[in-house]
């Protein structure tokens, strides 16, 4: 009984020793030097890999012709390393490595040729492709389901439900509605979401005969907002009520814009303020000034840093994805509802994956974590 146990102990000891005393710990001659086209890139680089080496600097030498002359192109550090060299595509390169082991200098045999070639897929982004395909597939599935008549439930979003009430209040008081579509350009998705809500608000103001003002910070958003409001008035059957002065451009400067809009709020005292879109530091200035004038305020943003300011100063706040769900919520179109459902299912899958990943990590494995790393 003792002898087998001794053999097992010896084997375990030798295994542990091999890990501790592995070549990675001690400096040794470089072997296995190889160079190849970097996978998954656009033909910008080649990669060198080797085993062995020394803790000090390793000089990477390159030549465009076999046999030299070689020139130094970079340095690498560490044992069992790699180096990515940015080169011209289509040209054959040869490499050598120069390094020190103690007092002696070493030069490896040359390797090559390696030609940088453009690849057709970034293999390190296959995780993103899978996730994107999954979400895309879910969107198409649920849109199809909605078109076939399946009931898709969206919970009540207080801020959006309050829009009609807010417009009605402004009409009763005979005061205007101020709609601020954020400070970013139309290229930002939050601005597009804001314009979809503006379309609904403008249609309501046209129907009720209320006054609306849309001051803009970005010129592209200004042109898009003007078209949106004009189209909304036409759809409501009140094209004559639309006035170009409803949608104005103020200035591109963030705080000059905030100063102008807060000045308008204090002078004209709108009954309702909508602050929907992407905001930065001016969010609290706008919202607090609006609060001080007694206006009902509905805000919406997906900027996490500004949400606390809106929550404390506005009556209703659309947080994060609620902003993006607004157009689906307002129109109740099956196509749009289907995409919201798909988004929710994707979120549920992410929650499950993250939870499983956390449990897995506690047990010493990191398969899911490594798979999800973004590059």
């Amino acid at each position: 009984m003792k002898r087998p146990l001794l053999f097992i102990l010896a084997a375990v000891f030798l295994f542990l020793a091999s890990q501790v005393l592995s070549p990675a710990v001690f400096a040794q001659e470089i072997t296995g030097l190889r160079v190849f086209d970097t996978p998954g890139d656009g033909g910008e680089s080649v990669t060198l890999e080797w085993e062995g080496g020394a803790p000090g600097a390793i000089l990477i030498m390159r030549s465009a012709s076999k046999g030299g002359p070689f020139e130094e192109v970079g340095t690498a550090f560490g044992i069992d390393g790699s180096y990515q060299d940015y080169v011209e595509a289509g040209i054959a390169y040869y490499y050598q490595i120069s390094y020190q082991l103690g007092a002696e200098g070493y030069l490896t045999a040359q390797v090559g040729p390696a030609i940088a070639k453009s690849n057709w897929f970034r293999t390190y982004r296959v995780n993103a492709l899978i996730l994107a395909a999954l979400m895309f597939g879910l969107v198409l599935y649920y849109i199809n389901a909605a078109k076939r008549g399946k009931e898709l439930y969206i919970r009540r979003i207080a801020g959006i439900s309050a829009i009609d009430e807010a417009v009605g209040r402004a009409t009763e008081m005979g005061k205007k509605i101020m709609y601020i579509p954020g400070i970013m350009s139309i290229s930002d998705i939050q601005t597009i979401a804001s314009l979809s809500i503006l379309s609904h608000v403008a249609r309501q103001t046209a129907i009720y005969g209320a006054d609306i003002e849309v001051p803009n910070k970005d010129p592209l958003t200004f042109t898009a907002a003007r078209e949106t409001v004009k189209q909304a008035y036409m759809e409501a059957g009140r094209p004559d009520q639309f006035k170009e002065e409803m949608v104005t451009y103020i200035t591109y400067d963030q705080f000059a814009y905030a100063a102008a809009v807060t000045g308008k709020m204090v002078r004209e005292r709108p009954a309702t303020n909508f602050l929907i879109g992407y905001f930065f530091a001016e969010s609290l200035i706008l919202a607090e000034t609006g609060q001080s004038t007694g206006a009902i305020q509905i805000a919406g943003t997906a900027a996490p840093t500004q949400l606390p300011f809106f929550v404390t100063t506005c009556d209703y706040t659309l947080m994060g994805e609620e902003l993006y769900a607004a157009s689906a919520y307002l129109s109740r179109e099956p196509n749009l509802l289907g995409s919201i459902k798909a988004q929710d299912v994707t979120k549920a899958l992410i929650i499950i994956t993250v939870s499983v990943g956390i449990v897995e990590y506690f047990f010493g494995s990191s398969v899911i974590k490594d798979f999800l790393v973004a590059r």
Binding site: Q231, L307, Y324, S327, K347
Partner: protein, 209 residues
């Protein structure tokens, strides 16, 4: 046709950056860079539209002697002077432009930013009420973080406030921020898919043809 062309353009231009994200080929990357530059150029063309609107609105105010017309003179004068010196400077920075920027624009912007401190105080006074358990937890966390960001906190608690404040920021706050960021990112992705596929068309002015 009026809606078909924009929708088709949206589809092609929307899919292209996604393609460039996965395909590293230089030709696709160049085209993607061209799209980024095109956006900058389109925005630059939109800027005169906005500037013309500002000039027209304010000259109209001047003509009608509407309320606040004096401020329109200041605005138009500032616009003209900064534009002239900015153009004189070319791609470099004209010293007079730099002087105006440092001594006029910069202090004005800093002043507006400084208003936040007053508004934070009044918003905090109004909003931080211990109405229920969650509000009380929020209130206590806010006080700890505020105390942790100033030397008084450590002076009163013997150095414990800063680590506690850092813990609140690093753990519960970071977790909440991540949740919001992930949710918002999914919402943005869903909205982007709708726009690319032409399902979401409200930004074009209408949901109906």
């Amino acid at each position: 046709m009026r809606r078909t062309i924009p929708l088709a353009l949206t589809f092609i231009v929307g899919l292209y950056p996604i393609l460039a994200f996965f395909v590293p080929d230089v030709r696709i990357a160049h085209a993607n860079d061209w799209l980024d530059e095109a956006l900058v150029i389109v925005a630059a063309f939109a800027l005169p539209l906005g500037t013309v609107n500002v000039i027209m609105t304010n000259t109209s105010k001047l003509k009608k002697k509407a309320r606040g017309w004096q401020y329109s003179i200041v605005l138009l004068a500032g616009l003209a002077i900064m534009a002239i010196y900015g153009l004189i400077g070319g791609t470099g920075v004209d010293p007079k432009f730099q002087w105006m920027f440092v001594n006029m624009v910069s202090p004005l912007q800093s002043t507006m930013f400084a208003l936040l401190s007053f508004y934070v105080a009044s918003a905090a006074y109004r909003a931080f009420r211990a109405r229920n358990v969650e509000a009380t937890i929020l209130l206590i966390a806010a006080i700890i973080v505020m105390m942790g960001r100033i030397p008084f906190g450590d002076m009163i608690t013997g150095g414990r406030m800063t680590p506690l404040s850092e813990w609140i920021m690093s753990i519960p706050n970071a977790a909440a921020q991540r949740g919001i960021i992930i949710g918002a990112a999914l919402g943005a992705a869903s909205m982007s898919i709708r726009i690319i596929l032409g399902i979401e068309t409200t930004y074009l002015g209408s949901g109906k043809d």
